[in-house]
Symmetry: C2
Subunit: 569 residues, 2 copies
């Protein structure tokens, strides 16, 4: 198809052209959004005739017509759809435009392509405004089928691929859906701390945050450049002090003039100051400061040991117990040496906390929130979801529709165990033994949600022995008001509970699980003073993206994955 | 005013009662939102006659009518306004209800109070549903005038005060305004990493994140419990190996049966394995692992030194150079020993990054964003802003209105210095000398925005010597395309720049400022392959709250402030 083949749009198309149609210019740039052209219901045809400036990166390009023009598929990240761009050889050196990854800004006129082509609109370039070239021989992510594993070694460029860009848009949509949901329901977004001194569940899996190492390295360098005084130096300084002291004494005894004595005392003070400085410096020792054989954390930045948070729950409860409905959405950390496709050292969590609410309310909120996110993606990200369905998981859109519309099954832990036992009797093999009291393993959870019910399942009222001390003790004294939301594809998506609001009961529970009371006194205060029934849950944000997209490895759904041995950039 | 004084609402009020008016129940709780009653334009009067359940904390309470009833001012955090609640003595022990901080849930009927009272509606309680008591003698934050300094020592309870609750709502509003602004303008929210191995501006002010200390402490404990083998143990094990080896040799020489030889070889292997285990354990040394006198970071969690991020900019640029418009909104960290009212060790930053855009676009975006936030607060948080105006800064609402409506002044750095020099000539005293080339000090910035122009000022094109290497070099080769937004009350609110997109130029700049190239190779790749004109900025989120509210100390506008020596909870 040569450029001269480009027929003008048929007159009925021109007639249908709505003259109020305009292209959406980006608010803070002079280019248009490619989505606002090709993402229209008419595929952009209604915009034919308009002059626009477009910018983006070349997905594929090829010279045609014996080098007289080039086709470029241009994408600016605004959607998965590309704009087809046609550049004549007179406007640029075509070979510099066609390499995948090239960035171009072009001015041109939108035209309806000849019938029979896939596109409903294309851009005939009048001017190449700017060009960011690519040497295809060196470009680390050329247009070949690249595995997600390979892309993990090129974090700084992988967002230029269709898959990682689609995931970025889906992740963005889910994040804004999260804020929209909680704001619509009158929750306040609270920023819980990343740095914490509450070592909350006696975890050894926390990252420590410190300035002791860098301070000690700084000191070591300083001491090499400027060695500490020797005993001889100090003795000499001591000698000077004693001489100056003697001098003062003699002048006083000799009833010398006031100015003479003052001058002499000044000399003495200077000598004393020098001595104390030397003594101070002589105490400096290279290495991390210690006291009684242990690291002296009083010299650390926060004057005590500090860690990266594993959850904002306990802290956000202080706000729930003051302003009723709150949520936190931020990064959390685990220093676990897990090399699985489901774990990260840094991941994002959504943690709402609701006052004046019980476990039923908690389940209602969790279900409404998950449904809201599913509907949001179906409404606002269908093009990206179609890409995921085509490329990774053909059931992903149906799964969103199902979860958005079907009531979640709710069963007690005891019922869940009975169902699993029945399955075992029926011949189902599990690696982990099923009996009342066990923590449900991933295989059990997946069985319930994927095989038994084939829809989301909320399991509630777990044995207290396998759950945290802050979960509310039920009247049976054996179970606590905990709940987990299980969904097909990922298993556990949400874990939550009604919190124990009774002072005496929670105090007892802390002691029962072998924790010290002192670090929890502030948490106990929430029950001591104006206590309130409340509940909350945590949703692993990356798990939600795995669930939505069908992507297998959690390292591919967070922009900069951190795991044992890797923290690139 | 005894309860019997409560006249029924006059008939015209009853007539005005709109029967479609209903109280807004919280979605995940059976209580109503107090805001949905007292926050109505009619103060709630239109809801008279409705039965509701309300829950909240008592702000003030008093027994009246010789103990026959009590007035409670109830607040649930949904707004600064309280609901007046009246409880008869027959329903509860009134003395248990009236203490500040008490949590109550009550059922009752909304009634219009007698004329002459401030309230337009009050709740006559029919049942006290639940009660979280407070012992006023022990409650750490009783109803007395508490200073913000005092409250910083009670982080877990301070959200129960009017001030900290109002700040929480304003902070929430600004956070959601931030997301709404960028989403409306087609930016994608990108989660840049908190843990980073990019030590970006050669900063010594970064917090280090490590598991080496906890691992070494674990090892130390283990070695005490289970001491490493002595040389004698190892020698003994070596002896066993040699004996077993000899035994195998003899059996083979004696042409023993195959099964005898196999058994003997197995014994030998067991002995060898035991020896190698002992040798391995004997190498374990307490303390942080070292290699060539330096800490061996290959044994740290990420196999290299890791830090907390000081900015997500460089990382978010990788997304801007792929999907065009992005922003990050997350915590950032500085390990600086600053004890000022303007610095925190952990604070939140908003960092947009715009592709196909230059410094003008950057300024346009920054101005539009700040105005958007001001309008948002005026629209959605006027009641809280009125509280701040009454209690802390009477000009704060006017300031929001001014900033929302007036175009920001834009002057070059060179013009700014000239204006400051003029001021000095006119008799203005600055602590820091004014001359071209200096970094503007806070006093200079405040002079420009508060005295000279009395409105927001954007200063652009700074000397390259005082700015970062990644800012785009202007054609004068002396200045870079940087810009700072200065606002009354806080001075610098935003800092940004057009980024240097030219590979050769940025490479030169890195070398010029004395940084090594290697850690920036990934950043250079963004310029090597498909480079794009782009710009961005950072807004200190807490600074914005200080600006909005007039609060003086940054420690009061973040829920859990972290600063040298303090990281409570």
């Amino acid at each position: 198809m040569a450029e001269t083949d480009q027929a003008p749009p048929p007159s009925d198309q021109l007639a249908a052209l709505n003259l109020t149609d305009t292209v959406e210019k980006h608010a803070f740039s002079d280019r248009v959004l490619i989505r606002s052209i090709v993402g229209r219901p008419d595929g952009g045809a209604g915009l034919a005739g308009q002059r626009v400036r477009a910018g983006g990166w070349v997905k594929t390009g090829r010279e045609q017509g014996k080098g007289t023009f080039a086709f470029l598929e241009l994408n600016d990240g605004s959607s998965p759809a590309n704009l087809q761009v046609i550049v004549d050889a007179g406007l640029a050196v075509l070979s510099k435009l066609v390499a995948t990854g090239t960035c171009v800004v072009v001015d041109g006129i939108l035209k309806v392509p000849p019938e029979g082509t896939r596109q409903k609109i294309e851009l005939r370039v009048e001017k190449v405004v700017s060009l960011g070239e690519v040497d295809p021989a060196k470009y680390p992510i050329p247009k070949t089928k690249l595995t997600l594993e390979f892309l993990r070694d090129h974090l700084h460029l992988r967002a230029r691929t269709n898959t990682i860009a689609a995931i970025a848009r889906i992740r963005n949509a889910l994040a804004f859906a999260t804020h929209s949901f909680f704001q619509e329901h009158n929750f306040l977004y609270v920023h819980t701390p990343i740095l914490t001194t509450s070592d909350c569940e006696g975890a050894g899996e926390m990252f420590q945050v410190t300035t002791l190492i860098s301070e000690s390295e700084k000191l070591e360098k300083e001491l090499i450049k400027n060695p500490p005084p020797s005993e001889v130096d100090i003795e000499a300084a001591r000698q000077v002090v004693s001489e100056r002291g003697e001098a003062v004494k003699q002048l006083k005894a000799a009833k010398a003039s006031k100015s003479e004595i003052t001058a002499s005392v000044a000399e003495l003070n200077k000598a004393k100051e020098n001595l104390s400085k030397l003594e101070e410096r002589s105490k400096l020792k290279p290495g991390i400061p210690k006291k009684d054989g242990k690291i002296d954390y009083t010299q650390d930045f926060f004057a005590r040991q500090a860690f990266l948070t594993v959850s904002g729950q306990l802290q956000v409860e202080t706000y729930a117990c003051a302003v009723s409905n709150v949520y936190t959405f931020g990064p959390t950390f685990r220093a676990e040496h897990s090399h699985t496709s489901r774990h990260l050292a840094e991941f994002w969590m959504v943690e709402p906390e609701i006052a004046f609410a019980d476990l039923q309310d908690d389940m209602n909120c969790a279900e409404a929130y998950v449904k809201y996110m599913c509907n949001w993606l179906l409404d606002k990200c269908l093009d990206d979801m179609q890409f995921m369905a085509k490329s990774y998981d053909k059931g992903c859109i149906d799964r969103l529709r199902m979860v958005a519309s079907i009531p979640f099954v709710r069963i007690s832990y005891t019922e869940a165990v009975e169902l699993l036992e029945e399955a075992v009797k029926g011949g189902k093999k599990f690696e982990n033994e099923v009996k009342w009291g066990i923590d449900l393993a991933s295989e059990h959870e997946r069985y319930l949600t994927e095989v038994k019910f084939q829809k989301p399942v909320i399991v509630y009222n777990y044995p207290k022995g396998i759950k945290a001390f802050y979960m509310r003790l039920n009247d049976d004294l054996k179970t606590v008001a905990a709940m987990d939301v299980l969904v097909p594809k990922v298993g556990e998506l949400i874990g939550g509970s009604q919190r124990e609001e009774r002072y005496e009961v929670i105090r007892e529970r802390i002691l029962e699980v072998g924790l010290p009371l002192e670090p929890y006194e502030w948490y106990l205060d929430l029950r001591r003073y104006g206590t309130v029934k409340h509940c909350g849950f945590g949703l692993g944000f990356e798990r939600m993206i795995l669930f939505a997209t069908g992507i297998e490895n959690i390292r591919d759904v967070i922009p900069f994955p951190r795991y044992p041995g890797r923290a690139d950039l």
